[in-house]
């Protein structure tokens, strides 16, 4: 019985492992799966990437992604050829074109504030006030008035009765009441 169970579990594990493996996109220096190529096109795979997959993300803690941002067009290929020579002969425009071929955004661009916090704050306040208005509306139009026992007179009477019954006399409410002086203990 136990043997069968373990065998079954083992088979399940192997099956699931195979399923995961089939979906994962292996990236190696020695040729790339067609599946990857359908996603990234002709983009050059230049590194391991942050998770071993051929994808692009601008991340400050992992600045060099696995693939180049642009596919090698003839223009870019010509620039790459020129890049093999002296870099002092490259113009600023060419250097910038090369940078944009490799990377989508500069650090200052992808770290620039988006201003999204304003909409978040706005939505939060809007929905909070909506909830408060709903509550006020319910109080005004839906709920009955609170029962009589919520009134101050009734509450006093109830407290008096609790003390008269000497509820919880050791550590509780009645222990704080001085029955001689008919007042709270000081």
């Amino acid at each position: 019985m136990l043997m069968e169970l373990t065998k079954m579990a083992g088979r399940l594990l192997a099956l699931s492992a195979r399923a995961v493996h089939a979906r994962a996109i292996p990236v190696g220096a020695c040729g790339v799966h067609d599946e990857v190529r359908t996603v990234i096109g002709n983009r050059e795979i230049v590194g391991y990437g942050y998770n071993g997959q051929a994808n692009y993300a601008d991340r400050a803690e992992f600045p060099l992604p696995a693939i180049r941002w642009k596919e090698p067009t003839p223009d870019i290929a010509a620039l790459r050829e020129k890049e093999k020579g002296d870099w002092r002969k490259l113009s600023l425009e060419e250097k910038k074109a090369l940078y944009r071929a490799s990377f989508r955004q500069t650090f200052s661009e992808f770290k620039a504030p988006t201003g999204e916090w304003k909409s978040i704050l706005g939505y939060t306040l809007f929905f909070t006030s909506l909830g408060l208005w709903l509550f006020i509306g319910m109080k005004l139009f839906v709920y009955n008035p609170v029962p009589e026992s919520f009134g101050e007179e009734n509450q006093r009477a109830q407290l008096r009765r609790i003390l008269d019954l000497r509820v919880n006399p050791v550590f509780g409410l009645s222990s704080k009441w001085d029955y001689e002086k008919n007042d709270w203990k000081k």
């Binding site: 019985m1 136990l2 600045p63 002969k89 490259l90 250097k95 910038k96 940078y99 500069t106 650090f107």
Partner: protein, 152 residues
């Protein structure tokens, strides 16, 4: 049926406990990760040598740079210089620019103290190799507005 399973599981458990007990008593030293005994100097030399390797390829350069960016430090200028030269050997100018940007980002709140020092130290190399700093390329400020990736 379940009784058999339980009995077997119980005996299996017992035997495994009996096996592990003496092993625990014997091996009092723990096999855990060790604290690094590498000094800062050794670290710097290690990375300088890593980038100075003559046949280093772009894959390894990126690995070294990404690793450095994941650490709680700003790389020494001599590491940066070695990395710049490695970028030159694999003919990737934008890689060098990106690394300088990343170093600037690593300076964090002390960017006005550390970054000028690093630029000052690596400037001769930059001039020699013809590498433009991010400032020269105008990348210290956002150049392009954010494109929405879904707008194509």
């Amino acid at each position: 049926m379940f009784r058999t399973v339980l009995v077997r599981a119980n005996s299996a458990l017992k035997s495994s406990i009996n096996v592990t007990k003496p092993a625990l008593a014997l091996g009092s030293s723990r096999h855990m990760s060790k604290e690094s005994t590498e000094t800062d100097e050794e670290f710097d030399n290690r990375y300088e040598a890593y980038f100075n390797r003559a046949d280093i390829d772009g894959w390894e350069i990126r690995r070294g740079m990404n690793d450095l960016c994941g650490m709680d430090l700003v790389p020494e200028p001599k590491i940066v210089i070695a990395a710049m030269k490695a970028c030159r050997r694999v003919n990737d100018h934008s890689l060098a620019v990106r690394f300088i940007e990343a170093i600037k980002d690593k300076c964090g709140g002390k960017v006005n103290e550390i970054y000028p020092y690093i630029v000052q130290e690596i400037k001769p190399t930059l001039v020699e190799l013809g590498i433009s700093t991010p400032e020269e390329l105008g990348y210290d400020k956002p150049e392009l507005a954010l494109e929405n990736i879904n707008d194509d």
